[in-house]
Symmetry: C2
C-alpha cells in the first residue's frame, strides 16, 4: 500500500470527531496495548520515546480521577470505559544508551531540567498525536481533554515518578448522537505558506 | 471502514521510518495542501488550531534555511523537495470567536503569554503529530528534525509574526537505502500501566 484509501482518510481524519458520550461496551486491555504498540513506532528525537500512559479503567481508578475533573468533563470521563492519562517522562534520557546506542546523547538533556522538559514535552506530545490516530485506526473513538486539575491527577497517579501530566483522553465506543456539529477549520492560507 | 486494514497500519506506523535521503522527485504544492487539510481535522482544545507551517520548496527558500541547519541535518535538508517549518501561533486565541463561537474562551489565553504558549505548544505539537501521519497516509516519506538553530530560522522566515518555531520536517519520496535500521522501542510495561 503506497497511500491510504479514501475510507481510511475518513476514518482517521475527515469523518472522525471528538466524542462526549460512551456506549456501555468495554475496551479490552489488549486493545489498549495495541494502540500504544502502534503509536510508539512513530519517530521521536534520538528515539527518546518520552510518552508515558496511565490507562484508568477500573471503578477504583475512576474514583481517584473524579475529584480532578472539571465540571464539563466529569460525567463523560466517569462513563468512558478507559481514560488515558498522557504523561511524559522528564528522565527519558536515562533510556538513551539503550534506545540510541550509536552515540552518547544524554548530555543534551541531563544537565538541565529545562532542556529535558522541552524535549519531553515536544516528543511526548508528538507521540500523543500518533496515539490518538492509532486509536482511531484500531476502531476506537477518542475524547481528548485539557479541562482538569493537573496537580490533583499527579498527586493521585504519579506516585513519585518523574513524569508530568500532559492531557487526558477518553477512549471507547462513542455515541454518535452526543457528537457536536463539526467546528470550522482554518483555510490553508491562514495556516501556511509555500516559499 | 471501522478500522484500518493491516497494510494501512504498516504504511502509517509499522513499516514507516524516518528518511535521510531523497529521490529527485518533486512534491506538488497541491499535495502539501492536502496533507495540511487532513491534519487540521484532528482535535485541538477549543478547536484552537495553533499549527502554522512554512513549506520551503524553492532554491531561494532553501538558501535561507541553509545557515540554520546543524551539520548532520544540512545536506539532506537541502536535497529534500520540501522542508516544513512547523510553528505554533502564540496569538491563536484571536481566532477563537470564529473557531469556537459557542462560548467566549479567549480569556483562558490572552491574559498571559505563558498560558498562550503552553496551549499553543501542546496543541500545535499534537497537530504536528497528525501532520506526520497525514503525510504518510498520502504516500509521502518524512524526516522530522530538531537539530537546527531556532533563532536563525525565526529570523529568516517569521518576519515579525507572533509564531514560534517548533521543529522541521523534510518531506518527499525517500531513498530506502538511506534508512537506518529500526531502533528499539520500549515494551508496554515501561511506558504504561492499567489501573
Amino acid at each position: 500500500m503506497s497511500d491510504l484509501p479514501e475510507a481510511g482518510l475518513d476514518l482517521l481524519f475527515r469523518a472522525a470527531q471528538t466524542h462526549h458520550g460512551w456506549q456501555d461496551r468495554p475496551v479490552p486491555a489488549q486493545l489498549l496495548e495495541q494502540v500504544l504498540d502502534l503509536a510508539k513506532m512513530g519517530p521521536t528525537a534520538f528515539n527518546q520515546q518520552p510518552l508515558r500512559v496511565i490507562f484508568v479503567t477500573t471503578p477504583e481508578g475512576k474514583a481517584r480521577l473524579s475529584p480532578a475533573m472539571s465540571r464539563g468533563n466529569h460525567d463523560k470521563t466517569m462513563a468512558a470505559p478507559a481514560t488515558a492519562i498522557l504523561c511524559y517522562d522528564l528522565e527519558f534520557w536515562r533510556n538513551l544508551p539503550e534506545l540510541w546506542p550509536q552515540a552518547d546523547v544524554q548530555g543534551y538533556y541531563n544537565k538541565s531540567l529545562d532542556a529535558a522538559r522541552e524535549s519531553a514535552q515536544r516528543n511526548g506530545t508528538l507521540q500523543a498525536g500518533y496515539f490518538l490516530i492509532a486509536a482511531r485506526a484500531l476502531g476506537l473513538d477518542c475524547g481528548p481533554m485539557s479541562g482538569f486539575d493537573k496537580a490533583k491527577v499527579a498527586d493521585a497517579f504519579l506516585q513519585g515518578r518523574p513524569w508530568e501530566v500532559n492531557f487526558l483522553m477518553n477512549l471507547g465506543y462513542g455515541l454518535p448522537e452526543k457528537v457536536n456539529p463539526r467546528a470550522p477549520r482554518l483555510p490553508f492560507a491562514r495556516m501556511a505558506e509555500i516559499v
